[in-house]
């Protein structure tokens, strides 16, 4: 067994570094997950909702103009942007709401950066009739106004967080504080493969539907495994979901793409695997952006979803063991990926996914013609239209006319 996941660790990464008050709830979550993950009724309910509510399986699409332009491998998009609510986040929230319901929790809390996880959580909370509170950094409520409105329309309360950097990291702190206080009747739906055990494993398992579909669709479309899979890494859930079935498999390169923000040398980025040190944040041991003293640093990315100063412990493990490789892409390059994807393929990608699209060129050229590369298009760009328009200088005004 390569991974010690069952003990809450992936090699030396992971664990459960939280206030004592939460330990009982984590044990309860772990027990309930063990009990239901293979329970036929649970699996059937989840599968039916994935099909009818989310719209799974999402397509695997040949991005033919990018394939031609890059002159390398065939570029395939795994279309998580077509999942209900517009991103892969729905896969995990659906799984967790079923668990919360089985555990008899009436109240749901979540944190969100880009707002996609908040929207997905508000959505499943509405579906199951649960009270829902979403913590969001004040800075992010401005960047992602549209998603704030969506959450409120879905019946969730959105709480702007005004501490620290006012982004995702602080929203997580606030959600944990809420959970410590209301742990009896509240389930915390963590949005990515981070947090104390058993969250990184549970979230990964619920996201692995992405990788399992890639596997089946690849076989059908080109008769074998992809030669590479490229996915963006914020905290890492869409990447782990896409990678997981292929970990350790001969001939499949797994490539995670972090946010280099204004450049690694600027210090303003979200590249914790590239630039972080081993540390403890939000309940787990992993790579963390921090000062020499151990204070957590603020991350930066043009995409709110990659603006997080740590990465899930399983990614740290995959990196350490050489089972996956990690790269980083700047804000400017991500915008180029955004533009390319929009104009050549007719898809506005999330700015997060645009990082993966940009880096895919390099991998495609390395692989060469005839090989197959899957890019996880983790979400759609509707939420990013304002940010992208401002950065690219595109406005709604049209000139001339007849």
């Amino acid at each position: 067994m390569r991974q010690r996941a069952e003990s809450g660790y992936f090699g030396p990464f992971g664990g459960r570094y939280v206030p004592e008050t939460l330990i009982h709830a984590l044990e309860e979550l772990e027990e309930s997950y063990e009990r239901y993950r293979n329970d036929p009724e649970f699996v059937e309910e989840l599968d039916a909702l994935a099909r009818d509510f989310v719209g799974r399986p999402t397509p695997l699409m040949l991005a033919s103009r990018l394939t031609r332009r890059w002159g390398g491998a065939n570029v395939w998009f795994k279309r998580e942007d077509l999942a209900h609510t517009g991103a892969h986040k729905i896969n995990n929230t659906l799984g967790q709401i079923l668990l919360a319901d089985r555990m008899g929790k009436r109240r749901i809390i979540a944190e969100t950066g880009a707002g996609q996880h908040g929207v997905a959580t508000a959505t499943v909370a509405a579906l199951y009739g649960k009270e829902c509170v979403v913590y969001m950094g004040e800075e992010d409520t401005r960047r992602q106004r549209l998603n704030v409105v969506r959450m409120r329309l879905l019946g969730a309360e959105v709480v702007p967080v005004r501490t620290g950097s006012r982004t995702l990291k602080d929203a997580v702190n606030e959600a944990i504080r809420d959970w410590v206080t209301n742990v009896e009747d509240t389930h915390y739906i963590i949005g990515s493969v981070v947090g104390p055990a058993p969250y990184p494993r549970i979230v990964r398992d619920f996201q692995t539907v992405i990788g399992r579909e890639i596997e089946a669709q690849a076989r059908e479309r080109f008769g074998g495994d992809p030669d590479a899979i490229v996915a963006c890494v914020g905290a890492g859930s869409n990447a782990i979901g896409a990678f997981h079935p292929f970990v350790g498999r001969e001939g499949v390169r797994l490539v995670g793409v972090e946010a280099a923000g204004r450049g690694l040398e600027s210090g303003e980025h979200g590249a914790s695997l590239a630039e972080g040190r081993l540390g403890v944040l939000h309940g787990a041991k992993s790579y963390v952006l921090q000062t020499p003293d151990g204070q957590i640093r603020e991350a930066h990315s043009i995409s709110a979803g990659l603006d997080y100063p740590a990465t899930g412990p399983e990614h740290a493990y995959l990196k350490e063991e050489g089972l996956a490789e990690y790269a980083s892409v700047t804000d400017e390059e991500a915008l180029e990926g955004f533009t390319l994807c929009s104009k050549l393929e007719g898809i506005l990608p999330a700015l997060e996914s645009a990082h993966a699209v940009y880096h895919a060129e390099k991998v495609a050229r390395e692989l060469g013609p005839g090989r197959n590369l899957v890019v996880c298009l983790s979400g759609r760009g509707d939420k990013d239209v304002e940010v992208a328009a401002e950065a690219l200088g595109v406005g709604p005004e049209v000139s001339g006319g007849r």
């Binding site: 939280v18 206030p19 004592e20 501490t163 702190n173 206080t181 742990v183 540390g279 403890v280 003293d293």
Partner: protein, 263 residues
């Protein structure tokens, strides 16, 4: 006498030990010294010194604000350990520190420096006993007490484990929640103290949210120590160290009275 022994000694005075908390570096680097002085003058038995951390997820708004201010003031780990060491000759000092600060420094180095500074014990709000084994033993070897937390949600099985690792007092969290002033003693606090006492031989101290002399007196019947943080930090913010010191004196008087009355 080692730091750990002095800490345990503070719990054998026939009344609950009074343990006021201060954030190192708040309201200023020098001001924190005045706060500690005021606490000692008011009759503190143990000082609890909080090392400011950027992400204090077990703390409510009051202590979050003080740690943010302290970090702006430039309070780093060196300064905080220095402050603790300055006072460790006059009273046992317990350091409250989030785990990443220890981990970043290197566990070995932290343990050594804590011992050299004469620190009596450590409280780590995000290091539950499951992850603490090696650290707790290293602390004990250095003569520094490991003071684990116990919560209302802790099962009896966990309380036994907590008792096994405690080489100082057990820090009982009065309520499932973060730090912050509460006017009354939460109803579950006394029950938790009784449950812990039944499973644990170490002294038991109660903290989180004790905001009035009345609440302190109520807890005094069951606890070996009373930890007061947010209320004092509020008072420092409003009226400076003297204001906090005066209030602490009232609490101290209330505790002595309650001990005198019953015995």
């Amino acid at each position: 006498m080692g730091g750990r022994e002095r800490l345990l000694g503070a719990f054998s005075k026939g009344r609950p030990a009074l343990i006021p908390y201060l954030t190192a570096g708040y309201p200023s680097l020098g001001g924190a010294r005045e706060v500690a002085e005021a606490y000692l003058e008011a009759g503190a038995d143990v000082l609890e010194v909080g090392v400011p951390f950027s992400d204090p997820l077990a703390d409510g708004p009051t202590i979050q604000d003080t740690t943010a201010r302290a970090l702006e003031n430039g309070a780093d780990v060196d300064y905080s350990l220095g402050l603790a060491g300055e006072f460790s000759g006059r009273a046992p000092v317990v350091v409250l520190v989030y785990y990443n600060l220890i981990f970043a420094r290197g566990v070995e180095r932290f343990v050594r420096e804590a011992g050299e500074a004469g620190i009596s014990g450590v409280v780590i709000p995000d290091l539950p006993v499951d992850e603490a084994g090696d650290f707790a033993r290293a602390m004990e070897d250095a003569g520094v007490a490991f003071c684990p937390l116990a919560a209302p949600t802790s099962t009896d099985r966990r309380l036994e484990e907590i008792g096994r690792l405690a080489s100082g007092f057990v820090y009982c969290v009065s309520v499932a929640g973060v730090t912050g002033v509460r006017e009354k003693l939460p109803p579950g606090a006394v029950e938790l103290l009784r449950r812990v006492r039944a499973k644990v031989s170490a002294p038991v101290a109660l903290g989180f949210g004790i905001g009035s002399a009345e609440a302190a007196r109520e807890a005094a019947g069951e606890a070996d120590g009373i930890i007061i943080g947010s209320r004092l930090m509020q008072l420092v913010g409003e009226g400076g160290p003297e204001r906090a010191g005066r209030w602490l004196q009232e609490v101290r008087a209330a505790l002595s009275e309650s001990a005198g009355g019953g015995h």
